[in-house]
Symmetry: C2
């Protein structure tokens, strides 16, 4: 049976596409793997491959298969493997003293997927929502596919500027519209870097209550705090009105594609109903759980040291070269990213070209803004390369920045 | 930080829900795990746990981590692990002599998820589509969440009755509406059992061409053919107009949550765009691929013997007791399920009660019809229990059927 492999363009079937398929079409796809021809991969938020616990994973797989192989290889619980949900509770307890129950957790295929469950549950096309601007480009792709109207709220050193959030909410109210949800990255905001201050956390909760809306709290990096004080999550401040997304991608490995939403148990069935088929990966869930059950604390401690060293190396490389300019460089208290406001006079197009030439992979600031802007910014990830390459690459890129003045 | 764990019902936030969240609400959830208190688990299509290659999986994990551990533990290709896509091509070649390329495949979290990608790409709420009636209950749950209008097409011994499909398409045309897609389970139709005849396969393709629509071909069980002739897939007959869903759930293990859509490469980016975040499970994809690369042919041969014996045992148990009635019992040429039209006079409600009492888990026929009907049918899965229990449980259930006459 040799089918005729046609080159017919989808254009033939374009008129069959759903509205959601049309509206998101042509949006940029986030990179998911290190760019092969880059010498310095500072683009995506790829975890440090040298820190993956390879032997530990093999050992956990063997141990797990012995104990619950039959359950690991068949369909799973709609809400996600209970052992993993218990582990998430332990994690919250360990790192934050936050008490939640497995009933509050629904497991997803990574936290991007967790966010999509919340968007699917609450957003119709055209519905208003608030988001930090800039915000994570991957989330913007997911948001595009759901088609809401995104109202921008700027970010300063204390995180989302809640005064502007209030203005946006008030404006919507005057128009007789209701904000469906407020999306925020509370710790080491991606890409801009700040952590939402305690005062603003309380203010944001007040806003959600006053304007009767929900908050979607994205916290993929919270455990990887190098310094500074950990603040209570928004979820901890109002567990009925906040949906909190988390992931094992940064504390273990993104390859397991395991994340979750933590929310009021009454909402869980709604999110579950957008998980199509068979429960989120029973096999990967159990391998990750068996590993993390025994090693979470020590492994996270190790990762904090690893990523702090990388951040510091990259910052040093940048400042060594750009110290005499008016560049603005974030110093996040954790996470994977540095956000740079380019020195006055830098030509972003020229910089893009030069970065390719010196083979440093970067992400342009425009990727992080759904309503335009960001031309004078770039984001660098220090997570993937070893510290010495973070330093060298940062210097090379900084030279390219200097060479890109108009 | 001790949050107040409130019992606030979602009702508080009901007015924030999206249309899709509302329309699918309250639909029945498919069982994903064997019911603990059933003595005979004939409900869900759970693979045979005794056939899982436990040691092979542990060995494949160790081997894979050595070769490409770094790739397995980080984000993956948006289209899915290329090794798995190559394996799917090998599988099609091996079992069907069908040539496809990795470019034709997009990996999903199981075939239910693959179907949802197609529904998301093509269905708006209210859009018309055709489906066999009865059809798989899990797919009906996914369909409910997308909100199309489903037009029923009955099934007979040769599969979907294409003459009725033509009538439905013609009726839509008269109404000035266009069928978005035709959903069909071509081999050992779930639940009814028939395989779509070659003549009907050609006719269905003609219909799709004539009415300019797409076909979504669901084939989760095709390799598990116990007897009878394998027919060319609909995809092989028209690879530009057919989207074909497949899975490793039945030939390896559902716990890996790996499926795919095979379609014209021009359509792949559309499906991909509904995969939120990071590529489908890089870790599980690689473990499954490493195992199946070396063992697919022999493992599938083993499974065919395993499931054939179970089917035969269950059929014998049913016929031994019900031989003197006008019961109708399917004899599928493969797959996991038997479909039973209960003897005249059977009270389905009474049977449900008695089945619980004798602890035989069954699925009522009504689960497989979205527009009503099916009261006089039940579906049994012979996949999970060993043959002797398939026989015993079938006898016990058959007695319960006899005891449930009005």
């Amino acid at each position: 049976m040799l089918p005729h492999m046609s080159n017919t363009p989808i254009a033939r079937f374009d008129d069959l596409l759903s509205t959601r398929a049309r509206i998101g079409r042509g949006g940029p796809a986030a990179p998911t793997r290190p760019v092969v021809n880059a010498l310095y991969e500072f683009g995506g938020g790829f975890p440090d491959p040298a820190s993956f616990p390879y032997e530990g994973i093999v050992e956990a797989t063997a141990r797990m298969i012995k104990v619950e192989g039959a359950e690991a290889l068949t369909y799973g619980d709609h809400q996600g493997y209970r052992g993993l949900r218990e582990l998430v509770c332990e994690k919250y307890e360990l790192f934050e003293g936050l008490h939640v129950k497995p009933e509050n957790i629904v497991v997803s295929n990574g936290s991007g997927h967790a966010l999509s469950l919340a968007f699917s549950a609450f957003l119709d096309i055209g519905d208003p929502m608030l988001s930090e601007a800039p915000t994570f480009s991957g989330t913007l792709n997911t948001i595009r596919r759901h088609g809401p109207q995104v109202l921008d709220v700027p970010v300063d050193a204390d995180g989302m500027v809640t005064a502007v959030a209030r203005e946006q909410l008030e404006r919507l109210r005057r128009e007789g519209r209701r904000c469906k949800l407020i999306y925020t990255i509370v710790n080491f905001q991606n890409p801009a870097g700040p952590t939402l201050s305690l005062e603003r956390r309380h203010e944001l909760i007040r806003l959600a209550q006053e304007y009767d809306t929900l908050i979607l709290e994205d916290d993929a990096y919270g455990e990887l705090r190098f310094e500074g004080q950990q603040l209570p999550s928004l979820y901890a401040l109002d567990p009925t009105r906040v949906l909190r997304a988390g992931t094992v991608s940064k504390i273990l490995g993104a390859g397991f594609r395991l994340g979750w939403l933590c929310a009021d148990p009454s909402m869980i069935p709604i999110f579950q109903s957008f998980l199509f088929g068979g429960g989120v990966n029973p096999f990967a869930s159990r391998v990750a759980t068996y590993y993390l059950r025994d090693h979470m604390k020590e492994h996270v401690a190790l990762l904090i040291d690893v990523y702090r060293a990388k951040r510091d190396a990259m910052l040093k490389g940048l400042w060594d070269v750009l110290g005499n300019t008016d560049v603005e460089i974030s110093k996040p208290e954790g996470g994977f990213f540095i956000w740079i406001k380019l020195p006055t006079g830098t030509d972003p197009a020229r910089l893009s070209e030069r970065a390719v030439k010196v083979r440093v992979q970067i992400t342009p600031g425009t990727s992080f803004l759904i309503n335009g802007g960001g031309e004078n910014f770039i984001r660098l990830a220090y997570s993937f390369e070893p510290p010495e390459r973070c330093y060298d690459g940062a210097r090379i890129l900084a030279e390219a920045i200097l060479d890109s003045r108009r």
